[in-house]
């Protein structure tokens, strides 16, 4: 029974990880930028939602809109104010990585100063676990989260396969050079990637806030998962990233069956190390070799 509960928790966690990882995979795949700040945007979105919904007691729809707009705005700002200037003159992947890391540190500490370092949660009766079947607890929010995730994933799939922008973004992930040759503006496509990718963190951020609580460092862990998932899933494969992120979420919880919680954080990294060392091309490699 414990195992089944852990599995359910795992699916819940895995779904949140998958959504966030997809956002990162989209951005990294299209722009090849190590957008570490993705985790920072996750945290910002979560706290914005908590502030508008919890502190200001506004309707959850308004709070969601606030969170999405903030996330997209920050994502675009980071790209235009930081990444683009760097790419214009020096542009090594490390320079951008360091700057992105800098953003994470700034955001983490700014939020700690404004909201404090302790755990805060988004209060809602929906997050109270309900005994579904004897011994199995599930919060109604989990059901909502699952349904939302499926809707978002389907919409994303349609966007990426049916719309011009979506197809262009996928092409960009697989072969940046070719896209430039065909005259598409990589700069405009990058903007779409950042906007879409940043918006995708919001559902995960909201659910994490409601289910497990928030603190300023929560972005780092989820960022690491997204990173691992994108790389292990294979660059250029957004679904690969989603699957791996989901698997990590499930594994993190199943691990608790036998080992104590310190080890569950290490799970993602054990995953990553194994993949990078034994299959550096990733599981679902689609992108062209460089």
């Amino acid at each position: 029974m414990v195992l089944l509960q852990l599995l359910i928790n795992g699916i819940q966690t895995g779904t949140i990880y998958a959504l966030t990882a997809i956002g990162f995979a989209l951005i990294f795949g299209s722009t090849r930028i190590f957008h570490f700040a993705h985790g920072a945007i996750f945290v910002i979105a979560a706290y914005v939602f908590k502030f508008t919904f919890g502190d200001l007691s506004l309707h959850w729809g308004i709070a969601t809109i606030a969170a999405v707009s903030t996330a997209v705005a920050v994502g675009l700002l980071v790209n235009f104010l930081i990444y683009v200037p760097i790419q214009r003159h020096e542009g090594s992947y490390f320079t951008i990585f360091v700057a992105s890391f800098g953003v994470v540190i700034v955001v983490q500490n700014a939020i700690a100063i404004i909201f404090g370092r302790g755990f805060v949660a988004i209060e809602t009766p929906l997050s109270n676990a309900v005994e579904v079947v004897s011994g199995l607890l599930m919060a109604p929010l989990f059901g909502i989260a699952l349904v939302c995730s499926v809707i978002i994933l389907i919409s994303l799939h349609l966007t990426l396969t049916r719309t011009h922008v979506g197809i262009a973004l996928r092409a960009l992930s697989q072969n940046p050079e070719l896209v430039r040759t065909f005259g598409l503006s990589t700069r405009r496509l990058s903007t779409y990637a950042f906007a879409l990718g940043s918006a995708l963190v919001v559902p995960g951020a909201i659910f994490t806030g409601a289910v497990s609580g928030l603190n300023p460092t929560v972005g780092l862990h989820i960022m690491l998962i997204s990173l691992v998932a994108t790389i292990a899933g294979g660059i250029g494969s957004i679904w690969g990233a989603a699957w791996i992120a989901f698997a990590i979420g499930v594994a993190e919880n199943l691990v608790l069956w036998q080992m104590d919680s310190q080890w569950s954080e290490a799970v993602a990294f054990a995953f990553l190390l194994a993949f990078l060392i034994f299959r550096p091309a990733g599981l679902f490699r689609l992108a062209s070799a460089r």
Partner: protein, 295 residues
């Protein structure tokens, strides 16, 4: 001399050693790693173990720590360096986090989350190092020796091998450089000498625990190297001095709430990292924006 200043001095030396050794990898070899704090920790834990169980001689402890850290880094580097450049950062992140988990869980060796207390004082040439001044001289001495070693290495042919690998790996291969060996040697040198910082730290405080050796510390040392200037010898030392003194300096700024000094410090160096990368990627010591050359 005031104990307070000597204390700051010891910490500057410790972080300068960490920054200098990290620079061998980041600045000279172009290998970007976030696992440096892990080797700082390995040095400290081995030092504590040897000092408390085997020998109180400083020399023995130093040798043991350096060798352990060096050998472990080679074992880890050999498979890890096969990974493509950009992804190595993530691998190093994984290594750092796994090491922290080991530090927290291996209670027999590391004391778990509680850490190790009552580390005895080091003995050398028959005497003990006990006063703040003596510790400062020890730290300074270690820094001087390490600066000398690294300086010699990077000015000579090894330095050129490192930089060749950094600037263009495929060309280096085509000219006969065994890139994997060069990177592994750089990792051994960097991590082995970083352990010296761990030794000094463990002895000075007589107490170590895992909190000092986390990702935060790796990032702090990286910030020191970047802000001070990569690819030079004095850059990392300058960066270490600046960032070590920053919290002290901030405490004098009266309108800042004391409880938030830690966060403010981090926020400031995060900001510095961003601005540096945009305007002056070479760091304070570096040459400003280099001419962009597509070659």
């Amino acid at each position: 001399m005031s104990v307070y200043l000597l204390n700051v001095g010891v910490f500057i030396c410790i972080y300068a050693i960490l920054a200098l050794t990290l620079n061998v990898l980041i600045g000279y070899a172009g290998v970007f790693t976030l696992a440096h704090a892990a080797f700082f920790g390995i040095g400290a834990y081995v030092a504590a173990f040897v000092a408390m169980n085997l020998s109180s001689s400083l020399v023995v402890v130093l040798v043991a720590s350096v060798l352990t850290a060096g050998i472990l880094s080679v074992i880890i580097a050999l498979p890890a360096l096969r990974v493509r450049d950009e992804y190595f950062v993530v691998v190093s992140l994984a290594i750092q986090i796994l090491c922290v988990t080991v530090f927290s869980e291996w209670k027999g060796f590391t004391g778990g989350l509680g850490g190790i207390v009552n580390i005895p004082l080091p003995e050398i040439f028959g005497g003990t190092i006990a006063t703040p001044m003596q510790f400062f001289l020890l730290a300074l001495g270690c820094l001087a020796v390490i600066t000398l070693i690294i300086g010699l290495m990077v000015r000579g042919s090894f330095g050129r091998s490192l930089m060749a690998v950094r600037d263009n790996e495929s060309a280096a291969l085509a000219l006969g450089k065994n890139v994997a060996l060069i990177k592994t040697l750089a990792a051994a040198l960097s991590s082995g000498l970083a352990a010296v910082a761990g030794v000094v730290y463990a002895y000075y405080l007589s107490f170590i625990n895992v909190q000092t050796f986390t990702l935060d510390t790796s990032v702090l040392v990286m910030a020191m190297v970047i802000i001070g200037g990569t690819g030079t010898m004095c850059g990392p030392i300058l960066g270490a001095a600046l960032l070590t003194m920053l919290p002290n300096a901030l405490s004098y700024v009266s309108f800042l709430p004391q409880t938030e000094i830690g966060s403010i410090q981090q926020l400031l160096y995060g900001l510095a990292m961003i601005l540096m990368m945009i305007f002056r990627p070479g760091g304070i010591v570096g040459a400003g924006r280099s001419k962009r050359n597509r070659n």
